[in-house]
Subunit: 695 residues, 2 copies
């Protein structure tokens, strides 16, 4: 573990400076101001800095050094790290900038220092970062002036500037942090390492972070999945508008995009995503109580109609259920409340509500099994005893495992009560709409956690089929083919259990008739030629052929048409296909994200995907539950239940197709993209009509 970075027993500051305004001075001062372990300034030009003995190098320090903070010019960092390695330093924080982020030489410099620390077994934060902080041991190993208040929320940031701003904000808003790290270029330690560490940190209840990308998506997913089982993780991932997907060559690729991959990665791991800074902290506020609701049912208690309605509107919009309490509960509170109170949900205990009235409803709501979470709203009206009400909320909340959160609207008149509530880890807001939005994230978290996503794929593909696919792909690769068209794509997919129309190539009219007789009428006939892209345009396609005569004539006709229009095209023959009728058109796809790997796509075909972009994605491996979710997630999902008197379409077949694709790309990661479009799903089973694979 990397505990020596946050809890070192000794720290060296390489580049410590006596000069005010220098970063090496700021860092040293910040350490002296709080940290109680041993501090060793390192600077070959001095023997003492800020009354501490100064050393020419880390290896010259007579004591063992756990952590070194590096604030010297970029060019000197490599040598300094070698010296750290010699001295047996465990961790380094390279604040110095001028590495990968500046391009050119910087890239090589970064590569060099990574090699040094990795071969020495040193763990490195940075380079190009603000530093690290631990409020518990008062260690401010950064150049930000002040430590934020102590609290139970850990924060990591890819942006140092945002880190500075957030610490400044936290101080003013009395928002407590346990630990803070700005990891800059994250050349060695990255988001996944800190997720892993904060998960085990006993001083941290909630993990927040700001990231712009993820290093090693597979490991991130693997670790994050475990971390969210222990603690909530709430992240801002910016850069959503990145144009990465534009160059994608397939339909699926164009719909995917890298931001979509992040959304899916977060979903898969149970990470809560927010898009704004304020939203990040509002969400964190809701998680500080560490209590989670059993379901979506929330009771609102208010002393004012308006804010109660705003909360109810928001809840309704976000799918939070506002069921009333049980009949017994309502009867119980009715006896004790004035007749003008509204007893359902929101429970409106009226403008002159005392703390006693809040207590009556809170106590009953806690007992009532139909209440899964409680929102207490207060406006500071003429007779409102704000502080007493806060006390009642605190004692009630301490008496239950249900989440209880408060919305005390106002300024000066509610300030003290809010601080009191927060002191007892009761989430407190000043806007009902924001409070309910944050609650929705809590509900999301519970739902995400409740899913036991099994990676084990039930889909079994016979070993010899996998071998055969391997041969086909190898052969195509050796021919330099990267886009695998109809026939071979269908062959590969068939070996993984997909159905395609029965079909065969006829070289003569008589052969065509024989094939059609075997397949059964009606059939479809298409010219087969490597030179013809748009078969219909050259009269190369005939549909719905019902008998031998029609097939015979169609063969002759197609051949004549094509020869007339494209006399030089080489005609391999005419493909005879089973004609598929009925069914609902859907589309399956695979895209590849450079961070998280393969994603499977599903959507309703035709206009739904082209115009409405109504598709769902999941990162591979896709479990059965995830596959079923992909189906219900699309807006047009009801269409598959059968509308206008149709029978329901076969969702099990759809889910199986998704999982077969998941298995295929796991077995053959060389596959980059797949489109199966259209695929016709029936009431029982389904069949693909066209497919392409890109390797």
């Amino acid at each position: 573990m990397i505990d020596f970075i946050f809890n070192p027993s000794s720290i060296a500051v390489v580049g410590a400076s006596q000069e005010e305004k220098k970063v090496g001075n700021a860092v040293l001062k910040n350490l002296i101001n709080g940290y109680t372990g041993k501090i060793y300034p390192v600077n070959p030009g001095r023997t003492e800095i800020l009354s501490l003995p100064c050393y020419p190098s880390v290896s010259a320090i007579p004591d063992r050094v756990d952590l070194a903070i590096i604030v010297i010019p970029a060019k000197a960092v490599a040598d300094s790290l070698k010296d750290c390695a010699k001295a047996g330093v465990k961790g380094v924080v390279v604040i110095t900038a001028g590495f990968k982020e500046v391009g050119g030489d910087g890239v090589a410099r970064e590569k060099e220092i990574v090699e040094i620390v990795r071969s020495a077994g040193i763990k490195m934060v940075g380079p190009n970062c603000l530093g690290v902080m631990n409020t518990k041991n008062k260690m401010n190993a950064s150049f930000a002036a002040e430590l934020p208040p102590e609290g139970r929320v850990a924060f990591f940031s890819q942006s140092g500037a945002l880190g500075v701003a957030i610490i400044d904000w936290a101080i003013e808003n009395n928002f407590g942090f346990s630990k803070f790290v700005s990891f800059g270029n994250k050349a060695d330690l990255n988001e996944t390492d800190f997720l892993e560490y904060f998960a085990k940190d006993p001083d941290t209840d909630v993990i927040l972070g700001y990231i712009e990308d993820v290093i090693d998506g597979k490991r991130f997913i693997e670790i994050a999945k475990e971390v969210t089982k222990i603690k909530p993780v709430i992240l801002i991932k910016s850069g959503a508008t990145e144009a990465g997907a534009r160059a994608a060559s397939s339909h699926t690729g164009a719909l995917a995009g890298s931001d979509r991959a992040f959304t899916e990665a977060f979903r898969k791991t149970g990470i809560i995503r927010t898009s704004g800074i304020q939203e990040l902290f509002d969400t964190a506020e809701m998680f500080i109580s560490r209590k989670t609701p059993k379901g979506r049912k929330l009771l609102i208690i208010t002393n004012a109609g308006g804010p109660g309605i705003i909360a109810a509107d928001t809840a309704d919009r976000l799918g939070i259920k506002l069921d009333p309490m049980t009949r017994t509960s309502i009867d119980t509170i009715a006896e004790k409340l004035p007749s003008t109170a509204s007893l359902y949900n929101p429970v409106d205990i009226i403008g002159d509500a005392t703390s006693e009235r809040y207590k009556i409803v809170l106590d009953q709501a806690i007992k009532d099994n139909s209440v899964e979470g409680i929102c207490v709203i207060l406006t500071p009206q003429a007779v409102t005893d704000v502080d007493n009400i806060a006390d009642v909320v605190i004692s009630s909340a301490n008496n239950t495992d249900k989440p209880v959160f408060a919305t005390f609207i106002g300024g000066q008149r509610v300030r003290n009560a809010i601080n009191k509530l927060k002191g007892f880890r009761i989430p407190c807001f000043t806007d009902p709409s924001i409070a309910i939005h944050a609650y929705r994230k809590l509900v999301d978290f519970v739902q995400l956690k409740s899913k036991e996503i099994s990676d084990e794929l039930q889909i079994k593909i016979p070993e010899q089929n996998i071998e055969e696919v391997k041969k086909i792909i190898q052969s195509l690769q050796s021919q330099g083919v990267s886009e695998i068209g109809g026939e071979e794509a269908m062959q590969i997919l068939s070996l993984y259990g997909f159905s395609f129309p029965e079909r065969a190539l006829a070289k003569t009219p008589m052969e065509a008739v024989a094939i059609a007789e075997r397949i059964g009428y009606p059939v479809v006939m298409k010219v087969s030629s490597p030179h013809i892209l748009h078969k219909t345009d050259v009269g190369g396609v005939k549909l719905n052929l019902n008998n031998d005569k029609a097939v015979y004539n169609a063969f002759v006709e197609i051949t004549t048409n094509v020869k007339r229009v494209m006399p030089d095209a080489y005609i391999e023959g005419i493909m005879i296909y089973e004609m598929v009728t009925g069914g609902k058109e859907v589309i399956f796809g695979v895209s590849y994200d450079r961070t998280f790997g393969h994603m499977i796509m599903f959507g309703l075909g035709g206009i739904y995907v082209e115009v409405l972009k109504d598709v769902s994605f999941r990162i591979v491996p896709v479990s059965e539950q995830e596959a079923l979710e992909m189906i219900t997630e699309i807006k047009g999902s009801k269409i598959l239940d059968g509308v206008r008197g149709e029978k329901p379409y076969d969702k099990t077949d759809i889910a199986n197709c998704i999982r077969k694709l998941s298995k295929l790309v796991m077995d053959f990661p060389i596959i980059k993209e797949i489109d199966i479009n259209p695929y016709m799903v029936f009431n029982n089973g389904g069949i693909g009509l066209d497919a392409r694979i890109i390797i």
Copy 2:
């Protein structure tokens, strides 16, 4: 006008009290504490209160009284208002509760006082309200303890409790108000009156409000439309989840809902809607500069990458365009900025940015015609000179008509600069995502304002057609019919210019053939009987009949089928219809909202409306521009452009249908609901297949 309510020269407090904690004491004290006009306590039991001479009644006051504040028990209010009338009082603020909101006797009491004030020509605020405030003349005619700071934002609230909380919040957050009114039950003066007044108030730049419903929707729309031309109006309308629409009997009605009507009313009038309290004030903050952008192009200037990306992501998601500056501009700033700066959009002037760097980019952006708005982001990094940068932003912003807003992220280190910026009416935020959301509302406002929605309907319906519809409706009404089915509904709609298939009733097989010959093959035949609801189920429908023989046989077959299955049904004959093929299925509808009246609905038919609920609405009268917007607004709109090689469908015909319906319900407001479903639109024109009207 009602200026005497906010600027009275004399005020009587009816129910003034010497006793601390009584509302009559609080109101009087609040007035004494700031208001400099004449104050007359009224209380028959005393001769002096708080050192002011006290009168037994308003009419006993020797001076003329402009405004009376009423804080006596509900039962005594009526008599007191009569006394006010006698004394020639112009306005009253009835703080007293116990009227309509308590039901029972309260309803009658409210009716009585409304009659008294209306017949006396007195304007009344309330009853059941917090009171009114004017920060300019320091008048606090309410029982809220303190006046908010002076500012240029007016606020009205239907909820007194929310009003109290917001004033408390405003004081702590230094948010300035010009005027404040809590209008409680709004028995006399309501939201529309205050909109009208604040529009003309020279001390108000932005109008905010909280409402739960609207009294007289037609007048609200009419006035609000004019007000938003002068000043932005930003409202919370709560109660969105009201179940009003559930009972609606038609397809359209079920999709409408009263919240939808509010959304449409706000759109029609140019009112900005927000759903949360914080969002309301964040939006107001963006409007305080009174500058509006020409278009959607925004330039972001930042000294930190992360927050810049967050802003850019949000902008992209909300449709704000981040075009770079012109080549010339980029070259100009490139010369003056460090080489590591990013020159496009966001312009990243790097962590060590000075105020000079901000000035270089700001000056160029102001000159550059491709920049329509400017967002200045700052994080307080080590060398950031926050206050100087604020000064640069202020002087630049004062030099341009383009909106310039700031996002200074942090706490203590940016506080002073933020206050400075706000002092110069430069919108300032601490979260880039919130800032961009607010900017989007500003862009919306510009767009809403730029639309000159003409109520003049181009659709002309011949007078005799209108007369004929009148006769049909009168006749149906006299028969007690409220649901008008197929034939009559088609007749009414045909008179308003809708096309339906050619059709006629045949009594004999020979007549059927004659009709079919006249209409032209193919035809559809359906049994006509008042007793048969599901015609297909009894074998009463035949499609696609191509010749005389088929029609003759179908007549016989249908008659036989129906007689066998339902021997007692009265058969009027068989309807012969022109068979409609091709075209795209759409749906038109009319619903009725009790606040705003008729709304027209449009959507793609079938699954699009049933499963995806992809429909648009507009309140009547619907202009041509609005009708065209209704078409582009639906998600599947592209389908009408023709996909997969189809020709575009006739949008002009669709827009005309919408306007014909608008005209029809304006001419016949007795019509409550209409469904034309399906309507087949072709490349040129269209035709309805079924219709029903509810009166």
